[in-house]
């Protein structure tokens, strides 16, 4: 399992432990079966099939990249089984057999843009890894910019795992944007921030808004390379709710005091609770019954209140913009005030009309 997938699994196991300690669901303990997708999409599909067909599990929590979800989607739809997908993603999807507990674009990308606009950043440069999420995100960003009098000075993609960013940094510097919107993935972020920093670009002159950099990644990038930069998520380890204090404490107690919590982990942790709540409501683990019961389920979670939208099976989430601190934690500097209704197809945004 790749880096972050492991910690999401850890968070989900913590939730299962907690629920079991409190008596389980419908008087039964939840028994986890763990399979490793090995960061390989077809393997995700294979393992999903195994869990459903052979292990006959009640539901599946997991998936990481968009590609892993797209690979598993037909498996769940054709076998009428349930997947809980815990990662922020590019939207434009609403499978009847998937619950999306991470943010869709209007809960992460759009608030990120709102924040930049509010701060007077009118000229943006888009940097992303070459795959579905960044390309879709950037399409949305361009539509948003066009409608809001913002200017896109450049749009650059690099192959996954790319580590040579001097040319790209040169292009960014030459374009002189007010801010950079960063959808790079994984290790590329390390190289990008290191090389941006050593080129003398600071967060004060040209902030970088990242949507795939969470607490776990900060250390690998090097705190001094990213301190002061912006990120957009729905949850930080520092988010100030009683549920989060409990979550962070429990996670550290179980996995070690040096561990951090992050948005995808929290979304995975939530997913287990949301499912358990829906099962209680339905009185059964039957997929169709759970789906029906899940609509409108509301829980107070570490990120604040979350509610399942029965129409698109996404979750109402509060958007939060944060700044990376010198200690590696992320401090919230802005939030949407209340949970945002998920809108994976951006139907309620007039500027997004031409997108789908």
């Amino acid at each position: 399992m790749a880096i972050s997938e492991v910690t999401v699994k850890d968070a989900e196991l913590l939730a299962i432990d907690e629920i079991n300690a409190a008596g389980g669901v419908l008087g039964k303990k939840i028994e986890p079966v763990i399979e490793d997708g090995a960061s390989d999409w077809p393997t995700f599909a294979e393992k999903a099939t195994k869990l459903i067909a052979q292990d006959r599990v009640a539901t599946v929590f997991g998936g990481w990249t968009s590609a892993s979800r797209k690979a598993m989607l037909p498996v769940f739809e054709k076998r009428k089984a349930l997947l809980w997908y815990p990662v922020q993603y590019e939207g434009l999807e609403s499978s009847p057999y998937i619950f999306y507990t991470g943010a869709t674009t209007n809960q992460q990308i759009v608030p990120g843009l709102d924040y930049l606009k509010e701060k007077g950043k009118k000229k943006l440069f888009l940097v992303g890894s070459d795959y579905v999420f960044p390309r879709t995100a950037n399409k949305i960003i361009k539509a948003y910019a066009a409608a809001n009098g913002m200017q896109i000075l450049g749009e650059e993609y690099t192959p996954l795992g790319h580590t040579e960013y001097s040319t790209l940094v040169n292009k960014v510097i030459e374009a002189k944007p007010d801010a950079v919107f960063n959808t790079l993935n994984g290790d590329s972020n390390v190289a990008f921030f290191k090389q941006l920093k050593s080129a003398g670009v600071t967060a004060d002159q040209m902030p970088v808004m990242s949507v795939s950099v969470a607490e776990e990644e900060v250390k690998g990038i090097g705190v001094d390379n990213i301190a002061g930069q912006l990120v957009a998520w729905n949850y930080y380890q520092t988010t100030d709710t009683p549920e989060n204090q409990k979550f962070v404490a429990a996670f550290k107690a179980k996995y070690g005091a040096d561990k951090v919590t992050s948005d995808p982990m929290e979304a995975g942790y939530n997913a287990v609770y949301l499912w358990a709540e829906a099962v209680k409501k339905a009185g059964s683990t039957d997929v169709e019954a759970v789906k029906k019961a899940a609509a409108g389920v509301t829980l107070a979670r570490p990120e604040g209140q979350v509610t399942i939208d029965g129409d698109n099976q996404h979750v109402y989430k509060t958007a939060r913009i944060g700044v990376v601190q010198p200690d590696g934690q992320i401090k919230e500097v802005w939030n949407s005030g209340k949970p945002i209704k998920p809108d994976p197809y951006l139907k309620t945004y007039s500027w997004a009309g031409g997108l789908v």
Partner: protein
Amino acid sequence: MEGVLNQLPIGLSIGAVLLLIALGLTFTFGQMGVINMAHGEFIMAGAYTAYLLQSVGFLIALPAAFGVAGVMGLVLERLLIRHFYGRPLDTLLLTWGVSLVLQQAARDLFGAPNVQVVSPTWLRGGVGILPYNRLFIMALAVLSVVAIWAYLHRTGQGRRMRAVMQNRRLAATSGINTGRVDQVTFFIGSGLAGIAGVALTLIGPVGPTLGTYYIVDAFLVVVAGGLGQLKGAVLAALGLGLLNSYAEFWSDASLAKVIVFVAIIGFLQLRPQGLFVLRSRALS
């Protein structure tokens, strides 16, 4: 316009990185015909050495990484590779197995996430588009090449190495202990990977999969430069660096990689053995 001009030093600095990662291979691949897929993991070992020694000092990490990666190479040579001489393609698969084991070992030792290596403060800042850390990498590449050249041409051990490189059988019959030369070659070649690893901590991620990002590029440099050819490797690395720099500047990073590949295939049409060849009359 300034951007276009900036791509020149950027290209050279990309070339310097390519040269550092490929330099060791020109010896292990070039001299011994060993396709060492674990070369990337020796680079990784160098990077982790810098991570472990960052409280002691960055410059200390250079010789230390040379030693660590060099010894790893030596052990690999003694334990496995020496049974495989004359079977270069088998060494490729063998060392791929080794590289998988080393990656997993790194994951178990240091954890799957990238680790933080703080660049030394004296490398902060820069001249024009080139940060000091890039200049440092270029200087390190130049220094490595000069040191290797001096070693090959000014020391007895180096002369023996060249002799083995040109004609193993003849060297053996003239009383050179080729086994010993192989060990030294592998030690040096792997050690250079370690130095590259330290340099890469300045610009890239330090994690278990570090080596996989660089290994294909490193081999392409050696192929384009010609086996065992120091000047070939230097020219190929700089050429590919510049090509990469401008191709990416005028298109994008994805397309640049494809362009570089097509250029190498085209180049091999003109010079199938790379830039420089050791002439030999033997019927292979």
